[in-house]
Symmetry: C2
Subunit: 347 residues, 2 copies
């Protein structure tokens, strides 16, 4: 099989990311007859609405999935480990949204705006698996990478404001239903998330390494940044926090460049990138918000200013900068980035 | 007049902080007959419930307010400028919650756990005004000050997760009503806050200096920290963000100490302070949340770990630490801190 048959399989088609993949692909001209949709046995037999056409959802089975030349895995790491390498072996291009292969040295981990060249090996061999990074990593890197390319990047320290969509559709439903309950004076009952999410913020619910005190989400931002940049020296740390927002992540980012830059240079560099929208209206007090970022393909960047906790150069240039970014976790943080990788592979 | 008559006036008694002042004072044994409550003409004539006893709310008038030896101002900066100095001149102890006098070099700015000694001048002269710091500053400093005392503090960089209560009762009502509206599929209509607050986060709605790119809230955290610590050299910066939380602020804090410390030492230092509760359960993934901090006098501290974006010493000690804190904005961030200052003055 190969992409040349024009078919595209989506595994995990009923999930938040799977649904967004369908929406983005059809927006980009993929017709319903080219899509093969798969999910767990529980959803098999249901119909998905694909641009107005009902398409049957089938139980995930490697033979049927592999009839397509291009496969998007929007399922668990377990499913990805089970079927990802088999599909690649059979001649598919596989784009995996899970964390299963991200840190595998033999697997490319790609943000197309940052390291598109990393797909070359898979593309040229006509088969293979490419990993889609973690959402928080993607949203951070699309904003910081233009600065790294021009001035070099020594260090990033981020604090995140993450939507519950990262935990899936059930977590989004929990935020809505729990918020209704709290407004009616009831006690919140967390089931999907580890803490009450209505009118609350809490440390990211991924497992924590008791030695380092970092949770898995934070470790991903460190490890994936180094891999995507091919820079094992860059220093990264993050504090990952969930907020009661449905589908876009925000991040307060402090970046230390290798060479000093001016505000005008930084802003111009960010404004020159089609995938970013600079929202930095100091007079009007308008900056990126997850509400403004939701449903957008662009990542919003603002609050651009030198760090007041570091001396600037005598000419006002600085190596230490703050940014505040908001990006749609489901689109650029997951499905859109995966589609872009698929397009790089099959172009 | 003096505190020795035992009377206490509260100006702004109908606001969020005024109501909390009444609650804290009565909890601490102040009987309703000792309280004189004042507000704007609009609220004059209404009754407040003070521990079950109705107390009349009168229109703010300096003569009547000044019949008490101790005055809490929980009103605007304008009201504070109008009547604060006059009341002090007449012999009152005045604790002002507004920003009017915080940076006045002649006025003490006090967090009792940090710089209680600064009230000495006012206390010993038997009259005068003391300023209550900004909520975000208080919550940051009660957590960081124990580390500064032992190892010195070179730099703090914070990102905040601030409740809407800092913008008053109307903002809290707006968060509730706007959330109800959004859950019913309606468009949010911001009136009190500058951006939609339901299921959204946004840059703090205080005015921004177009030159520095910092808003007033962020500048307060810088300036007030230096004044409270009496350390014009300490480097501070903050990114202040509002989140859809009702009444407790959280802060992701990165602190650079002057001397390296170990995790055990830092944790022991924080655990030794009665005003902090260390919530740092790595195995159970339980850390400070605004929900857990709401209604508490203690500030919660957790996510204690060295910054992975800085080299640690060979023995694992570090000068660079992360903390995540949550504190009740209305209590320790405002009313409780003011009551503690009042107690220092009249003890």
């Amino acid at each position: 099989m190969s992409e040349r048959n024009g078919l595209i399989s989506i595994v995990g088609a009923t999930g938040v990311v799977g649904q967004e993949l369908i929406s983005i692909l059809t927006d980009r001209g993929v017709t319903p007859d080219r899509l093969r949709l798969f999910a767990s046995a529980r959803s098999a037999g249901k119909q998905a609405d694909v641009a107005g056409t009902p398409v049957e959802i089938r139980e995930t089975e490697v033979g049927a999935v592999g009839e397509a030349g291009l496969v998007y895995l929007a399922a668990s790491s377990g499913v990805a480990r089970d079927i990802g390498p088999v599909l690649a072996e059979r001649g598919c291009f596989v784009v995996d949204n899970s964390s299963a292969f991200r840190m595998d040295p033999a697997t490319a981990l790609v943000v197309p705006e940052v390291n598109a060249e990393s797909v070359a090996g898979v593309r040229d061999s006509g088969r293979g698996l490419v990993a889609n990074p973690n959402c928080s990593t993607i949203i951070m890197l699309v904003a910081v990478d233009p600065l790294r390319r021009r001035w070099g990047c020594e260090r990033i320290v981020a604090s995140t404001y993450q939507a519950v969509s990262g935990a899936g559709a059930a977590a989004m439903a929990e935020l809505e239903s729990q918020t209704r309950a709290v407004l009616q004076g009831e006690e919140p009952r967390p089931e999907v998330l580890s803490e009450p999410c209505a009118f609350n913020v809490f440390s990211h619910d991924s497992d924590m390494d008791p030695e380092t005190g970092r949770n898995v989400e934070e470790q991903k931002m460190i490890d994936e940044t180094r891999k995507i940049w091919g820079d094992p020296e860059v220093m990264v740390d993050a504090t990952c926090i969930r907020v009661p927002v449905l589908r876009a992540h925000s991040e307060s980012i402090r970046v230390t460049l290798k060479e000093p830059a001016s505000l005008d240079e930084i802003r111009a560099e960010l404004e020159s990138k089609a995938w970013l929208r600079v929202m930095d209206d100091r007079a009007g007090n308008r900056f990126p918000t997850p509400r403004a970022a939701s449903g957008q393909d662009v990542t919003l960047v603002g609050r651009i200013r030198p760090d007041a906790a570091q001396e600037s150069e005598p000419d006002g240039r600085s190596r230490h900068w703050h940014l505040f970014v908001s990006g749609d976790q489901i689109r650029k943080g997951a499905a859109l980035n995966a589609v872009q990788i698929g397009e790089l592979l099959t172009r």
